[in-house]
Amino acid sequence: MTLKVALASFAHVHAGSYAHLLAAMPDIEVLAADPDGASAPDPGPRGAALAEAFGVPYVDTYDELFAWGPDAVIVTSENAGHRALVERAASVGAHVLCEKPLATEVADGEAMLAACEAAGVILMIAYPVRFAPSYLQLRANVEAGRLGDVFAVLGTNNGKIPYAARQWFVDAKQAGGGAMVDHTVHCADLIDGLTGGASATRVYAASNRILHQDKGVEVETGGLVTINYDNGLMATIDFSWSVPDNGPTWGGVSLQVTGTNGSVEIEPFLPHVGGTDANGQVFLGIGGNLDEAMVDTFLDAVRTAGPAVAGQPPAVVPQPDGAVGLRTLRIVDAARRSAASGQAVDV
């Protein structure tokens, strides 16, 4: 059965990855729209020109995109635009893969979950690191009890500032904040997956803007958040955009998990061939395409679930789902309030 998959907006840098994947898949018809692309401040093509570069068909407006009757929609707009597009997808009965974070405000996230639930559509969040082989191995070890009781996690998601390609990442209104919003959620998602959905009870965050001062950025560019969970777990996440612009790769994710029987540390983006060339350090990633595993999981679920029936839950709920998106958004929201007040925040 051919699936019709809509790609809503090219604002997020991941839209290109999804477009290339979809364009290469058999039994997938893809259609993209990027109506706000023309007004974006970034250099480089958006809209029809970028769709052509990605090799996907294009329409000028969201009206045309949703009138096309998509089975599924991938939302890759600015974070603040997720709610409107997800609600619109739900209103036409299309299953949704939404770029992370779910939204910029908890109330938006709650509304999005409610809309998808009412429409009976899948809401999956684009957290690709969940599909890394090293993470799957870690989770299998945790679930098999090989770490004993897990009591502490140290996560890092350090990367280059996503500034040159898409300036909205450093616009507090469009992104919901800076590095804290962009990077906390990935590790929070990985922890959510290890704990089976533990909720944060107390959150403390400290942030600053020392990194990338030269770029005139007005959002936080570095810092840390410490989280206590309702199952007793303690975790800290370093969310800094602390990979220098001339680093050999964009950055990475690490998760160090300690239990009573030992610890496991994963770095899903570390597998690589290194070396040196005329431009400096070489970093040839060999960790596989995590987006592909994630998009496959989403589309398999869309096929299995079939057309949405309003008021009925979809037959398949692929993970990470909207509930994970909301729990991780609540952590970011608490972290923002903590960093602003200087106090720990009870959730």
Partner: protein, 340 residues
């Protein structure tokens, strides 16, 4: 033996874990070592060729200065006894278990004209010194976010480590190194936020326990220290990443030492409680040579009693933060003086 340390007689007080690396360093420096300890002095003496002294007073009388490597809760009393005897002191970290006690011994040392140096050996590990020098030289610009970690096989299964009143727990005993490093590399501390899991109950540390402490610094930098007393057999590991406005420095003891062992029979394995030193000069030797030279009127060492007191003060603030669940403002923090 170097000229500056010729004819040195050291009074070693204590014969536990850390005494071995200190003794090895003193012997390598050519010092005569007297040892006094309630336990283990004979064995240590036989192993290394030392001279056992039955009483603390006797040891103080004969030694040029003392090197205190006893359990943490006894540091204050023994240091005060040495000061009273007019002897200079090198004291293993933590200097004392409270900042109030640290200031008491510092005041006593000053009043008696005695020198007192805390043994914060991490300042002598070449990787930390290299990072310190690079940061001072501006290699990574302004420090923004720094992370430090330290893990060891838990010593809290038995003995004095598990009693927080005697060891101070994982933050005071283990993380105190990185609290000092965070301050050394990032500057004076303005707030301290701490979490520990599992929590300490009734003054007994969990055997397997981790602590996460976030510091903010006067410069605006943020740092994080993670200390873990891990499952039995956990190898000692440390490392750091310091991100600045123009660059990043990182080190991990598992990967960046230039020596990797894969021996099937008779391999030495890593030490579980004390870091495997780099293959060059032992940092303990570097430390004790610099401290001894300082005690003999040489240049001031890179770590002073006030640094040891501040590290203890930060560890106390971490405990206060865990009690309140909120960050501690170091401008107004007053230690309760409680040790657990």
């Amino acid at each position: 033996m170097s000229e500056e340390l010729a004819g040195l007689t050291v009074g070693l007080i204590g014969a536990g874990n850390i005494s071995h690396v200190h003794v090895a360093a003193w012997k390598a420096l050519g010092a005569r070592v007297l040892v006094h300890s309630l336990e283990g002095a004979e064995e240590l003496s036989e192993q290394y060729g030392l001279e056992v002294v039955a009483s603390l007073e006797g040891c103080l009388a004969e030694a040029e200065f003392v090197d205190i490597v006893t359990p943490s809760a006894t540091h204050k009393e023994i240091t005060l006894a040495a000061i009273k005897a007019g002897k200079n002191v090198i004291c293993e970290k933590p200097l004392t278990l409270t900042a109030a006690d640290a200031h008491e011994v510092i005041d006593a040392a000053n009043a008696a004209g005695v020198r007192l140096y805390p043994a914060h050996v991490v300042r002598y590990f070449p990787e930390y010194k290299a990072a310190y020098d690079a940061i001072r030289a501006g290699r990574i610009g302004e420090v923004a976010v720094a992370r430090f970690y330290r893990q060891a096989s838990s010593p809290a299964g038995a003995g004095w480590y598990r009693e927080v009143a005697r060891s101070g727990g994982v933050i005071m005993d283990l993380m105190v190194h990185d609290l000092d490093q965070a301050r050394w590399l990032c500057g004076e501390v303005t707030t301290v936020y701490a979490a520990q899991n599992p929590p300490t109950v009734d003054g007994i540390s969990p055997v397997n326990v981790a602590a996460h402490v976030t510091l903010t610094h006067e410069s605006g930098a943020i740092s994080h220290c993670r200390a873990t007393w891990g499952a039995t057999g956990t190898t000692f590991q440390t490392g750091f990443q310091v991100a600045g406005s123009t660059g990043v420095l990182r080190f991990t003891s598992e990967a960046d030492t230039g020596y990797k062992e894969e021996l099937q029979n008779g391999g030495a394995g890593g030490d579980l409680l004390i870091p495997a030193s780099s293959l060059g000069e032992s940092p303990y030797l570097t430390q004790l040579r610099e401290l001894a030279a300082g005690l003999r009127g040489g240049p001031e060492p890179r770590v002073l009693a006030s640094d040891g007191a501040t590290a203890v003060y930060l560890a106390e603030a971490a405990r206060a933060s865990m009690e309140s669940g909120q960050p501690i403002d170091m401008k107004t923090f007053v230690s309760s003086g409680a040790v657990a």
